[in-house]
């Protein structure tokens, strides 16, 4: 392609960016566990929005699109890392962070990748399993199973009071 069509004005991009940046960053950080890579993932997610030609039916639809796109962008990055790097020093990366990582957050970050989005949507965004299933295009029973398994891990590591 020689050129890029404009689907969104600068004002629209700025408005959407401010509406979702916190959520997109939280999702990306929960997958990638360091600020530098999370910033890259945030940029890629919003670049996909800039190139996205269709319009959203509602703000909820827009939000769901960002949740799915951010998660997929991170999975894609992790997939590339698996292929190109044997390992990277997570302790060194997390020592560069600007916010405090408490025990709870540490346990959340250690959860297997397949539970990250589900746990974030359930605990932070307050969606129930049916709503999460709709957003992620999965069956409610799959989401209920994933939540149950993730909660079990959290309970084991943090105790009952944390949930």
């Amino acid at each position: 392609m020689m050129h890029q069509n404009i689907y969104h004005s600068h004002e629209e991009i700025t408005e959407v960016y401010h509406r979702h940046i916190d959520m997109v960053f939280r999702i990306c950080y929960s997958y990638l566990k360091n600020i530098a890579d999370s910033e890259d993932a945030v940029s890629s997610t919003f670049m996909k929005y800039i190139k996205y030609e269709k319009t959203f039916d509602s703000l909820e639809h827009e939000k769901a699109w960002f949740i799915v796109t951010a998660s997929n962008t991170c999975k894609d990055m992790l997939n590339k890392w698996w292929r190109h790097f044997d390992s990277f020093d997570e302790n060194y990366m997390s020592s560069l962070e600007i916010f405090e990582i408490d025990t709870t957050l540490e346990v959340i970050l250690q959860l297997p990748a397949r539970y990250k989005t589900v746990i974030y949507l359930y605990y932070y965004e307050g969606y129930n399993s049916e709503e999460i299933a709709k957003i992620l295009n999965k069956s409610p029973s799959t989401i209920r199973n994933q939540l149950a398994r993730a909660k079990k891990i959290l309970k084991r590591k943090l105790g009952d009071d944390s949930l």
Binding site: M2, H3, Q4, I6, H10, I13, T14, Y17, I21, D22, F25, R26, Y29, S30, I35, S38, E39, V42, S43, F46, M47, I50, K54, H61, A64, W65, V68, T69, N72, D76, N79, K80, W82, R83, I98, F99, E100, I101, D102, T104, L105, I108, I119, Y120, Y123, Y124, N137, L154, L158, D161, S162, L163
Partner: protein, 198 residues
């Protein structure tokens, strides 16, 4: 509650937020300016890149054959290492082999040129499932061979037909009507594979 409070700590500072937004807006501007590149650049590109590319035959995608799938001739004992010697797009749990074949196939689909590709996935137990995708602008035929899956039910090659082939969010789908985030759960939409990159 503790979990929600912990999530709240994950926040990008204002300065970084502004920096990313500025980069995004600038990148849109830069790319938009390319619309007005002089015609000379277009002609040069056409002469030196597009013409040679269009003359170059796709290196590795199999010649499109409307008849039978190559899967029928494959040994039932074939190993993963042997498959790697073929021009198959292979996805294991941590690695992808022959990404260039997938890229070439997707380019053919973009250009509405009949093409085919054999995709290999591994089950959790490590058994290969093969899909031979035959694309034409009119229809897509998928030959799905799960006979090497020890825990699967199918011992024969299954044949599926769809009207279209498309990529959505780094995933390749075959479908009959619409391909959209809202419709990927429809029965008429068939998920073929995750694409690491295009």
């Amino acid at each position: 509650m503790k979990i929600k409070e912990s999530y709240q700590k994950i926040r990008l500072d204002e300065q970084s937020q502004d920096r990313i937004l500025e980069t995004l807006l600038n990148s849109q501007q830069t790319k938009t300016q390319k619309n007005y590149k002089p015609i000379v650049i277009f002609i040069t590109t056409f002469l030196f890149i597009i013409i040679p590319l269009s003359m170059k035959k796709p290196l590795m995608n199999a010649e499109y054959e409307s008849s039978m799938s190559q899967l029928y001739n494959l040994s039932s004992d074939i190993t993963l290492d042997e498959m790697k010697k073929y021009d198959f797009y292979i996805q294991t749990n941590h690695k992808t082999f022959h990404q260039d074949i997938m890229n070439s196939f997707l380019q053919d689909v973009d250009n509405k040129i009949s093409s085919s590709i054999i995709i290999v996935h591994l089950t959790i137990e490590g058994d290969p499932i093969l899909q031979d995708i035959h694309y034409t602008p009119e229809k897509t035929t998928i030959y799905r061979d799960a006979s090497r899956d020890r825990f699967g039910k199918s011992s024969e090659i299954e044949i599926l037909e769809f009207n279209h082939l498309g990529v959505l969010e780094n995933n390749l789908y075959a479908y009959n009507e619409n391909l959209h985030l809202d419709t990927v759960v429809d029965e008429n939409i068939y998920h073929i594979t995750y694409i690491a990159q295009k």
